[in-house]
């Protein structure tokens, strides 16, 4: 199943919803990005948001996604 799905992706056969999830990863380093509602929830719970840590993670993830060719694969 994994191999079949991988072959389909190579041919550009990706459902729009799955492509969206992949784009979240490319743009934020996370598959489910933080939104304002949940940012507020975190503050109310006293949970910090380490922006510097997230920024560094994104920079490295982007470099790796470029290196493996994933970004190009998703944009096909």
């Amino acid at each position: 199943v994994l191999a079949l799905r991988s072959e389909a992706v190579k041919k550009g056969k990706i459902l729009p919803v799955h492509r969206n999830v992949c784009n979240f990863l490319i743009e934020t380093g996370q598959s489910i990005p933080l939104d304002d509602k949940h940012r507020d929830m975190r503050k109310k719970l006293g949970l910090r948001i380490d922006e510097a840590s997230r920024k560094k993670a994104l920079k490295e993830v982007k470099a790796l996604l470029g290196s493996t060719g994933f970004e190009e694969l998703i944009k096909k």
Partner: protein
Amino acid sequence: MRKLSLFTGCLIPNRYPGIEKATMLVLERIGIKCSELKEAACCPAPGIYRSFDNITWLTLASRNLVLAEEKGTDILTICNGCFSSLMDANNILKTDAGLRNEVNAHLQKIGKEYRGTIEVRHIIEFLHTDIGVNKLGDAIEKPLEIRAAVHYGCHLLKPTRERKLGSAQFPVFFDELVEATGAKSVPYEGKTSCCGAGGGVRSAMLETSFKMTEYKLDRIQKAGVDCIIDTCPFCHLQYDAGQIELEKSGKYYDIPVLHFTQLLGLALGFTPDEVGLHLNEIVNLKFEEKIAQIQKWY
């Protein structure tokens, strides 16, 4: 005991932060030192990325593993999907030199190298194996006399050969932890079947995914429980937000959904708000009153 770094993933900090808060509270209360894994990114989720491109999946997972290697800690996960991706990738890279070299060629571009020096743990198997049911039971301050439907989730149990946690058909370790809090784990039909969320099904085939959730919720409701206890935020989302969706088709459940760390938090004396139950979609005030009454007795 080896040092641990907490890997929270995407869904918990960004959709269910109450689970993160509860986890931090209970780990501190029972004396487990566990620091945040800074600079971590998506695990990445096994359902989509592993099937889309194996090398990308391995490379991103290995970056998270390397962060822990650099700290000299094991990784503690509180999500079945993160556990699956990180544990499976770790096992593959430890044993397949070809893939390890390929991944390291990518990692080299960000100045990192995977060495294979750490282990990936899931909080349920960690608590069961390293702390133990009896010791956890001794720490309980407010034994919760409630009836719970335990949901293991697929990635915690399977593949059984990799997980080494016993039977995937009739598992007991999670039930034992739940019962250590004073709750009764109530048997129900279809207990080990999928919640309907995983494998990219929720995002791609929402209606089918909710049919699976409805199947589970019907049987859980029939068993007569106070709450559902899970150990994965994706299952959590499916049961919690899924109940709201199913209300549109006339199905009414109103069953509170708790991650195990939230249940443990209540049994340790934290309030429902402190463990973030008020941030769920399903907020059942009768359940919260019952917990408050139990907590007052002790």
